[in-house]
């Protein structure tokens, strides 16, 4: 299997924050979600991939090319979508094409026009006149016009309404349908995107918590529920995280540990629940 993105032992130190030994690989033809609480290092990781920050250690390969030594070549294959658009506000959509296309030898004008029609973007509009969802689609239209093989999106869904989120999901799944394109996106996770991701890389406080298939990730944990008196010392010790309240408790427990508690209610955990419980580091709260 060809890997479109390989990150090995990536490290970066800031004064108050460290990213430690982050490693993951994204094969061709799949979608990977980069998840973790705010400030956990998702955007830092993406910036390091894009060489917008200098790394302190490790290795990054985009389609087999080193992201620094072969930066130009690697970026010709790369499409990027940020939370806020990176075009000049006063540009008309046609000027966006003029300014961006010169950087990409593979740029196809017909394709750009086709994408604008598909996304209902008027070519004469100025960037600042477009809604947030439209601006995101404009960034995607650019990436598709030079047939970017790997798409990296940083928090693409933040600030989007459910309709635009659903459209984005649709666009991404069409993008990877031919098996020749891959997507890496960071997000605070919402249910709909949770369904479409093939792989999950979970970074917590600068450390890699998990990287692998989403089904495997979800299967690692279960939610155990019961009344307050059923919360035994054994369960407390084995639980990754516990939340107690006057009428009972909820605990995140490793799937292999749940055998001992089969008399209690055991449910599958959502990605959201796993992130919430694992980042609280077992602290109780009410």
């Amino acid at each position: 299997m060809t890997n479109y993105l390989e990150v090995k032992n990536l490290s970066k130190s800031f004064d108050s924050f460290q990213l430690h030994n982050i490693s993951f690989t994204l094969p061709k033809g799949y979608i990977m979600g980069l998840i973790g609480p705010n400030g956990s290092g998702k955007t830092t990781t993406i910036k390091l991939i894009l060489n917008m920050l200098g790394r302190n250690g490790g290795e990054i390969k985009i389609m087999g090319l080193d992201n620094i030594a072969d930066e130009q070549k690697a970026k010709a294959e790369l499409g990027v979508v940020f939370d806020t658009n990176y075009f000049s506000d006063d540009w008309q959509v046609t000027q966006v094409e003029k300014s961006i296309s010169v950087f990409y030898p593979n740029w196809k004008s017909e394709r750009f026009a086709e994408m604008l029609r598909k996304f209902h973007i008027a070519p004469t509009k100025k960037v600042k006149e477009l809604s947030k969802g439209m601006q995101m689609k404009l960034m995607l239209a650019c990436a598709f016009s030079y047939d970017a093989k790997l798409l990296i999106l940083d928090e693409p869904t933040s600030g989007l309404d459910p309709v635009s989120r659903d459209e984005l999901l649709q666009i991404l799944s069409e993008y990877i349908e031919d098996g020749e394109h891959s997507v890496l996106f960071s997000t605070h996770i919402t249910g709909d995107l949770e369904r479409a991701a093939d792989y999950i890389t979970y970074i917590s406080y600068g450390e890699l918590f998990f990287s692998g298939s989403k089904d495997e990730f979800v299967d690692l944990f279960r939610i155990v529920k019961g009344g307050t008196e059923e919360l035994s010392a054994d369960l407390k010790e084995k639980a990754v995280g516990v939340r107690t309240f006057p009428t009972g408790f909820e605990a995140l427990v490793k799937t292999e540990d749940t055998v001992a508690f089969s008399s209690l209610s055991i449910e599958p955990a959502t990605i959201d629940e796993i992130v919430v419980f694992t980042s609280k580091k077992g602290d109780d709260y009410e």
Binding site: S173, E177, D215
Partner: protein, 127 residues
């Protein structure tokens, strides 16, 4: 073929796909050598992960219901429906064996057991 994914059933999505494909084979809706929907297209249409559909198709292949032809897709095996019937009959046998064991423990005579089965059969046809 109809494929519907439920988000509240608690059954994993790959399992839901497997069950529905099996049901379609057994009912004859999917015939021998008929192709299953393309893996990536199905993932796109249902808005689910490609890996989830891959898992469903791989397990169906391992269980002998479909065969995967590289580059062409997934096809229903000749013996798909036959195999499914065998599996179901096996399930019936196991269930009945359990019932018999329980009846022995309860000292239930065989005629009573037969009668119970008849009543249950009748009750279920009413549905």
């Amino acid at each position: 073929m109809k494929l519907i994914i439920s988000n509240v059933s608690g059954v994993p999505i790959y399992e839901q796909i497997k069950q529905q494909v099996k049901a379609a084979i057994l009912s004859g809706e999917l015939k021998e050598d008929e192709a299953l929907p393309s893996l990536r297209t199905l993932a796109k249409d249902l808005k689910i992960s490609v890996l989830t559909v891959t898992r469903a198709y791989t397990e169906l292949e391992q269980e002998g219901f479909v065969k995967n032809v590289q580059g062409r897709g997934c096809f229903v095996m000749d013996r798909g429906s036959e195999l499914m019937r065998e599996q179901l009959i096996c399930k019936v046998e196991n269930g009945l064996t359990d019932a018999i064991k329980a009846a022995r423990i309860a000292n239930l005579p065989s005629e009573e057991l037969h009668r119970l089965l008849d009543i249950l059969l009748e009750a279920n046809t009413d549905d």
